[in-house]
Symmetry: C2
Subunit: 424 residues, 2 copies
């Protein structure tokens, strides 16, 4: 029985794949606070031109710039692994595969979009990127990408995570980035939240407000988003593209694809290339998006236009949302604590193509412990949501006898989250 696909460089895609032209309908466009569709000019105040192109393109294939491809080569293709030991322990007839995105210098899938975003900024002559980060994976990945492309970086980090994971700041600082606990006194948005509560735990929505506000007041600076946007989902498509070739090499094809969802991009990355095949006549696949019960955007939120940030500085997006003012409790999976969801993922949930479920922290950390013990790979707390769903699905297969082929995205490693496992 084969455990690992090869990591042939032939499997590294040279184009991103875009799900949009294959969808039965497109999500409604982002709008301004008066409800009018926003055009590329609004985006131009925040993003480099290359990113805007990636955000709005309807081309099915989008070339990956050679400079970005060169940077991908250090860690891509990422491994696709059959969880042989987990199958054995679960006594399941299901075959379980995982794509492991944690084995790269930043430790998660976030580098897949950090690298093109930094590249496009540098190409436009921008000298500084400003961003937010939740648990710190995005800030870490972007700090490496900025170091690679010679850019300064300012990171607004959700205060709850800033306090829980102080070494993320060390990591980002070592790569040349600056980190501010958010809400901070550096922006009007930040100060308004601090006035209400000087120890405010923060939220991704607030941190986005601060980053956007900072960019709008600066020269030669741009904003960078680690998830949610169509462009980010496009960049993450390399995960699914590699998986298609690697599953083919293993002689199997998934019947179910699982990913955790915070902003939606790692799930989109593994799911969309397979979804394109399904929507163009390929085999049926069940797509499962797993979120934390502490931030149940898809399972308890409403599909409506809402701001991407807490202070209403961004356009409004048609997405499942808990409300831009939602402050989630400080669970360990800080990367999943976003009030909204990628408009593309939201639209696919509405279309019934993606099935959302929500799990509690205790269950997912226990799944992470079990996975670590039997498979020898330590998942990030975010990724344990996908692990838990894969385990549940495989157990169900044991009971029903169904011959499932499960593929899930193990989006990052948990080296900086050992304390969460110790205390969680």
């Amino acid at each position: 029985m084969r455990r690992f696909s090869s990591r042939s460089s032939d499997f590294l895609p040279t184009e991103y794949t875009n799900i949009k032209p294959f969808l039965p309908s497109l999500p409604p466009p982002p709008v301004d606070s008066d409800g009018y569709p926003v055009g590329p000019d609004v985006l131009a105040a925040l993003f480099p031109s290359g990113m805007i192109q990636h955000e709005i393109t309807l081309e099915p294939r989008v070339p990956i710039p050679v400079e970005v491809l060169d940077a991908y080569r250090v860690y891509r293709p990422s491994p696709l692994i059959r969880a042989v030991e987990l199958e054995r322990v679960l006594e399941t007839p299901a075959h379980i595969y995982y794509k492991y995105e944690g084995m790269n210098p930043a430790g998660s899938h976030k580098s897949n979009t950090a690298l093109p975003q930094a590249y496009f900024a540098a190409k436009d002559g921008i000298t500084r990127i400003t961003t937010e980060t939740g648990a710190g994976q995005w800030g870490s990945a972007l700090s490496q990408a900025c170091s690679r492309f010679g850019l300064d970086l300012d990171v607004f980090m959700v205060r709850a995570s800033f306090l829980q994971k102080p070494l993320r700041k060390t990591f980002i600082n070592m790569h040349g980035g600056r980190v501010y606990a958010s809400p901070s006194d550096r922006t009007k948005s930040g100060r308004s939240f601090l006035e209400k509560d000087s120890q405010h735990p923060g939220s991704l929505g607030i941190a986005i407000s601060e980053a956007v506000e900072a960019v709008l007041s600066e020269q030669n600076s741009c904003y960078s988003l680690g998830s949610v946007s169509d462009a980010v989902c496009l960049h993450q498509s390399i995960i699914g593209q590699e998986s298609i070739l690697q599953m083919e090499e293993m002689g199997e094809y998934p019947t179910e694809i699982i990913g955790c969802t915070g902003g939606g991009s790692n799930f989109a990355g593994i799911a969309f290339p397979f979804m394109e095949k399904m929507l163009t006549g390929g085999k049926h696949i069940r797509f499962t998006a797993v979120e934390p019960t502490a931030c149940p955007t898809l399972t308890e939120g409403k599909l409506r236009y809402d701001f991407g940030d807490a202070s209403g500085l961004t356009p409004k997006y048609m997405m499942y949302t808990l409300g831009a003012g939602f402050i989630p409790p400080p669970i360990h999976a800080g990367g999943l604590r976003y009030h909204g969801m990628a408009p593309l993922v939201s639209h696919l949930v509405k279309l019934g193509i993606v099935n959302p479920i929500a799990y509690a922290q205790k269950k997912t950390l226990n799944a992470g412990k079990e996975f670590t013990r039997v498979e020898g790979i330590l998942p990030a707390p975010e990724s344990t949501h996908a692990v838990a769903a894969a385990i549940d699905s495989a157990v169900e297969a044991r009971e029903s006898g169904e011959k499932k082929i499960i593929l899930f995205n193990l989006s990052g490693h948990g080296y900086l989250d050992l304390a969460a496992y110790e205390n969680g």
Copy 2:
């Protein structure tokens, strides 16, 4: 300019290469406390039969068991990267390459020998491995390998590191291993050191004594060593073998090879396959072994027979040693705090083929920070010794104008050492 070699699975070796048959002379054999050579029977009380074969073989090529090859495939071939940004910052004419062994589930080169050691134990029907660990990299790698091959694991961890890096214990526990701070009250050796000092910081020598003593009193149990031995150096030869093919692909050949040395195995791993070529008529290479000034085995120790452990339970080895009772200060590079050195590396220093140097902690951590900032990869404190030597050599080339091709081994990542960088 090409930055990365491909990671073609064609580059994954199927045999270990053995430097011994190519040496002008062999190191003197291990002896018992009376000075008589010890035979395989003494080793048989401690090691699985497959390991003893690997320890004593004089065959130039030793097949890698298919079960081990299968386990290597998840992370090998490891990447070989040209440090283009570092070259630019140093304004050096030297080309600097590094082999990155940190991008695997355990985070260091230690998995290369943990996997065959666990495999050979399982093959002999052994159910438990006992070992020591310094900084915890070895214990982490072996815990994964034991999980993979269904074995129990007991780890005696040097108390200074146990206190400095508590999350290493969490990591090993999560993989099913048990961890004891050494000296412990579980063994006679441990108790004798605790009687002298109830807060004894421990040493690798003491932890080895405890592990060996525990194994000798148990059934179905074996001992496992993470460095030093000929067998471990043999397993690590896959690093150098891949590097030969990858450097060839990059169209270059090293003039200098650098590795950090604690027990000597990561250095041996990258150096020996190139050394074989040099000793059989290939181009001259300068081999540089870098150790900490806090534990200056090769630069200030004596070449003589000494015990591998602190209590005299192991055979005596002909090696550079600071004395089996040496207690190094608790520097962050815990993996380099061993009183002795691999007999093969010691012998090559004596022959003048390997050049040892020693660096202070402040210098190496600063080199690690610089490397992280410009190359975007966070090295383990041990590996920063090799980084610092590569930087010094490249700066020398800037001054002399020499066209050096430097290759160093980046033996592990520093995710669990961020506090060392923060405080060091």
